[in-house]
């Protein structure tokens, strides 16, 4: 079996969530099947400038084929079109124009899929919202699996993605909440799917003492790992933690790891370490009391899974359905929806070591049960074999719905995408749902 993994960016130094997810899956599936990665030459996710060489190279034993991006993103135009489709009643043509301006626009990649689809058994597309997934699935729907990596954000509510969600042969969801959201918005419950997520590359041993010594941190601390951005809930986290530090006696610190695009408060109990190596990151998590995930929108928090893999509890933003659901299902973390809950939960984790340990143990058990690499690989392989059996049995594939005509596409009758998302059912999916 030969599969192609199609993703917007690919490289060892590219650490975006979906891109890293794609690389891990490619590397692990390459142990079972022949894998080729199809990606663009872009490295920067804002400009999509062609920075990586076009052509074929091999990374960690996986062949990567890169295609140029035809034009960089016009940021102002994209912002204007985003306002149009997310906040105003608009047409399908507006949405298609929005997709083009979002990028990475790579007709060469789509042409390759169109001309060479017979060379691959299946394509696994990562991130539903980009040009390559939309046009790629429309080009080779009968061979397409989609890993949506969808968060609860406006793009999910765009009407152009509904046919794509329904046309894919299978969907590999990151969480039950993501599945519930996409099924509600597109009505694709009949499409084969599995909630699979992703494993973590946690080292065998960590050295928390070395981390403390190296960075001169003696006090107990909670750690945040990721981009320090308002969209990730960091501004709220700073406000809450400063209030907590002034209200609750103790010496608990907040350690931040990652690039910051937000001013870090000058506070004696907040420490920003910037971008650190993977080893330092894991050592920091091992040395911490808990990991904090303040993000409102996550399709799957890889760093939360890493913390659980290392037996550490997680304190998550309860307004993110996915994180809340993960905490409840795993019994491995607490969550907050306002400052008072933040204070109580953090104080509980800080003061009750047995509870923190029990949460961490539960998290680790949950990780091993559902997100350990053998489990994840098996889920992917089971799905691929299931599709292969169906193909061999001659099952008919419905295919993708055709685009409406020129006039129809320009009819201004699509609801603002944000309104669509707002009306979707929300909340953590805590019921165990079994799909045969």
């Amino acid at each position: 079996m030969k599969i192609a993994i199609v993703v917007q960016r690919y490289g060892l130094d590219i650490n975006g969530g979906a891109e890293l997810h794609a690389r891990y899956v490619a590397e692990h599936l390459s142990r079972h099947v022949e894998v080729e990665v199809l990606a663009t030459c872009a490295r920067n996710y804002i400009t999509w400038a062609n920075e990586l060489p076009e052509g074929v190279e091999e990374l960690n034993g996986v062949r990567v084929r890169r295609f140029p991006v035809s034009r960089q993103r016009a940021v102002k135009q994209f912002a204007r079109r985003s306002v149009r489709v997310l906040e105003q009643t608009h047409s399908l043509a507006d949405e298609l124009a929005w997709l083009d301006s979002e990028g990475p626009t790579s007709p060469a990649l789509i042409r390759h899929i169109s001309q060479n689809h017979d060379r691959y058994d299946y394509f696994i597309f990562f991130s539903f919202r980009y040009y390559h997934s939309y046009h790629g699935i429309r080009t080779a729907a009968s061979q397409s699996l989609l890993v949506p990596t969808a968060e609860r954000e406006g793009a999910v509510g765009l009407s152009l993605f509904g046919p794509v969600f329904r046309a894919a042969r299978a969907l590999m969801y990151n969480s039950f909440e993501e599945r519930a959201m996409i099924q509600a918005v597109s009505g694709n419950a009949e499409v084969p799917h599995v909630v699979v997520g992703i494993g973590s590359e946690v080292p065998e041993t960590t050295r928390p003492g070395r981390f403390r010594q190296h960075y001169g941190i003696e006090s107990p601390f909670v750690v945040y790992v990721g981009r320090i951005d308002e969209n990730k809930g960091c501004k709220e986290l700073f406000a809450y933690f400063q209030r907590y530090a002034s209200a609750v006696s103790g010496n608990l610190m907040l350690v931040l790891i990652g690039h910051s695009i937000l001013p870090i408060p000058d506070h004696p109990r907040i420490r920003h370490l910037g971008f650190v190596s993977d080893q330092d990151k894991f050592d920091a998590i091992a040395a911490s009391e808990a990991l904090i995930m303040p993000s409102y929108f996550e399709s799957l928090s890889m760093v939360a899974l890493e913390a659980w893999a290392m037996g550490k509890p997680v304190l998550a933003n309860g307004r993110c359905d996915v994180l809340r659901g993960q905490c409840i299902r795993s019994n491995g973390g607490l969550y907050y929806e306002n400052y008072r809950e933040f204070r109580e939960t953090l104080r509980l984790i800080e003061s009750s070591r047995p509870l923190a340990r029990a949460l961490g143990d539960n998290g680790r058990a949950y990780y091993l049960r559902h997100y350990d690499w053998p489990v994840v690989e098996r889920k992917y392989m089971d799905m691929l074999h299931q599709l292969q059996r169906a193909d061999r049995a001659g099952c008919t594939v419905p295919g993708v719905e055709p685009l409406p005509g020129w006039r129809e596409r320009r009819r201004v009758d699509c609801r603002p995408a944000n309104d669509v998302v707002r009306d979707l059912p929300s909340g953590a999916s805590v019921r165990t749902e079994r799909r045969s």
């Binding site: 795993s330 306002n338 008072r340 809950e341 939960t345 029990a358 949460l359 143990d361 049960r369």
Partner: protein, 254 residues
């Protein structure tokens, strides 16, 4: 099909813990308002009273400055043909200018009226706020003074109790009893009850004589309405000590 997720694992139930945390938060807050509701209530409270950031301390100065600027100044005179021409035009337009001037003064008066209204409104709000504050402070002062009064009376009563309790602290010597015979509690074991009684009677007689020598009032202790040198405290009756602690008037330190 791959394994499914189990909702419960281990002995820790996160939902239960969160339920307890929320209950605790509700208890502390009293009423189960959301953060947004609390913020809204806080905003309403601020709006109902005076917003200090919007009060302009230089309002009068600002107004006077504008008032001066608005006053029409004398038009500069020009000489020659142009000056005459301008004067002629002005003469022709003088009724219109007068009308405009009147309109302007009406507009000015209206503006002044509006300003006065704003000032009065602000003053009324401020006075109301101050009145409430004064009332609250008055109540607080009353409360504090009654508490102070009560504490004073209590302190006096307690002082008396301590003063008239020899032997309350074992081994302690009363402050004014230096050189006096040992109190009853420290009597020698072989001392009989009769001897102690006789000694007490002698002491009583000596004291009566001493009072007489010192120019006493001649009143009996029971008529004094209180202990010597101590005002009668109504609170003392309420703080009545137990029989064992009742002051013994026959002790030598009186």
């Amino acid at each position: 099909m791959p394994s499914e997720f189990t909702v419960r694992s281990g002995s820790v139930d996160v939902e239960q813990i969160m339920g307890r945390i929320r209950a605790r938060v509700r208890e502390k807050r009293g009423v189960d308002y959301t953060e947004d509701e609390i913020r809204e209530l806080a905003d309403v409270k601020i709006e109902a009273f005076l917003d200090p950031t919007r009060v302009r301390s230089d309002l009068l100065e600002h107004y006077l400055k504008h008032h001066k600027a608005a006053e029409p100044g004398a038009a500069p005179s020009r000489g020659g043909l142009t000056g005459k021409l301008v004067a002629g035009v002005r003469l022709l337009l003088s009724p219109l200018l007068k009308l405009v001037g009147k309109l302007s003064s009406i507009r000015h008066a209206l503006r002044e009226l509006r300003l006065n209204f704003v000032l009065i409104h602000n003053l009324v709000v401020e006075i109301t706020r101050l009145a409430i504050e004064v009332r609250n402070l008055k109540m607080r002062v009353e409360s504090l003074s009654s508490r102070l009064d009560f504490n004073e009376r209590r302190a006096r009563a307690l002082e008396n109790v301590v003063q008239y309790r020899p032997g309350a602290v074992p081994g302690a010597v009363p402050a004014r009893a230096t050189g006096a015979p040992a109190p009853e509690s420290r009597r020698e074991p072989d001392q009989t009850e009769g001897q102690a009684k006789g000694e007490a009677q002698r002491r009583r007689r000596r004291r009566r004589r001493g009072r007489g020598d010192a120019g006493g009032t001649g009143r009996l202790p029971s008529e004094s309405g209180g202990q010597d040198g101590v005002e009668s405290a109504p609170g003392a009756a309420q703080q009545a000590p137990t029989p064992a602690a009742v002051p013994d008037r026959d002790t030598p330190d009186q």
